[in-house]
Symmetry: C2
């Protein structure tokens, strides 16, 4: 059975890669920067995104978000308070988003055209394992790690950290109470993904948001 699983898995990922290539081409044609946010459940993807959408919109940028969860539309409702268009994807038991889900939800998104966006954020299902294998055609994959989770997570979930283009450390306001070892966390991230750009943020205090938004604008400008 193992061989059949490996073969089928390869087939699934191959099909996903093909769809993702199509998405990547349509993002490029539309001139939209697409970011795929991945992390454990509860790391603060939605909180970071909420602030990011507000900051970008305040600067006149056009941003939208697709948010993945097994169930509930909590995140979409929360993010819509930013004023940005947000669409919830419920995976109903599936542990990751895939390119097909993204394509379907983009196609049927009333009033939202890729060509009219500067940024599209995709908030993946909270899971440090499975989403790493599924290319969504994104320009930038961002892995989040909160100070509450432990500095060893990059070593324990290397595929996710290795496949990321940027890392955001979240909940820096809790670094003290958590006894967060900043140097160790940075060392571990760099061990898995040498030279990766790392941001240290707090959605509560707004720390690090300026650098993060500046990075987004620069990445958008390079397209």
């Amino acid at each position: 059975m193992t061989t059949r699983i490996v073969e089928l898995r390869r087939g699934i990922l191959k099909k996903n890669d093909e769809l993702a290539a199509g998405l990547r081409a349509s993002y490029a044609a539309a001139g939209v920067l697409v970011l795929n946010l991945v992390s454990s459940p509860g790391t603060g993807k939605t909180a970071l995104l909420e602030l990011t959408l507000k900051e970008l919109r305040a600067r006149g940028a056009r941003a939208a978000a697709l948010v993945g969860d097994l169930e509930t539309d909590n995140d979409a409702r929360r993010l819509r308070t930013s004023g940005a268009p947000v669409r919830q994807i419920n995976t109903h038991g599936i542990c990751h988003l895939d390119a097909e889900m993204i394509g379907k939800h983009l196609d049927g998104w009333e009033g939202v055209a890729l060509g009219r966006l500067d940024y599209l954020f995709i908030e993946n299902v909270g899971n440090l394992v499975c989403p790493s294998s599924y290319d969504l055609g994104e320009g930038i994959r961002v892995v989040l790690l909160s100070v509450t989770e432990g500095e060893d997570k990059p070593l324990k979930y290397p595929t996710m950290f290795n496949s990321a283009d940027a890392a955001v450390i979240t909940k820096m306001d809790l670094a003290g109470p958590c006894g967060f070892d900043r140097e160790l966390a940075l060392k571990n991230i760099n061990e898995i993904r040498p030279g990766i750009r790392i941001f240290e943020t707090s959605a509560k205090t707004g720390a690090g948001m300026k650098e993060w938004v500046k990075y987004l604008a620069a990445a958008r400008g390079r397209r």
Copy 2:
């Protein structure tokens, strides 16, 4: 391809269920209580287990642990300081433990016989989705939720919370700094799994450990 995936998935889970039934029978024959600890990465499974092993051993109970991670043997090394026998399972990319992995690691565990144990703890891979589908033959499935993760996690990951026999809220010492809404968390857990036994703990202060260990001893006594 979808039908083939569904069929194959069904086949994989059926095979796992059969192996798990065999494990369950061998646990019963040996008179060992087996617990499967599941949660997000960084919720504090290892910290809870570290304290639990120490407390149980201080009371003269015989406990051992199998710990699952994609990579590293950090957790096994950490848990061995309790004096209990601990074996690391590295899944190398697989997002959950399955019954076959457990069987293999129990078979080849030098010096550890199930019949000589009172408790066997299995610390699953940090993942709130995939481990829910894989029965390990455990007597009790324990889902952990930390106060840092957000009170909505039971609603977003219902299968995991619904399949659990007990819930442990961890890092209660951070409840204040996190603005943890205890009533809401309890309500959400109970909405998904009405009447489930819930423990509120802190590995830092030791809060809630007495009730937790008492629960384990009572569950062991009922076997």
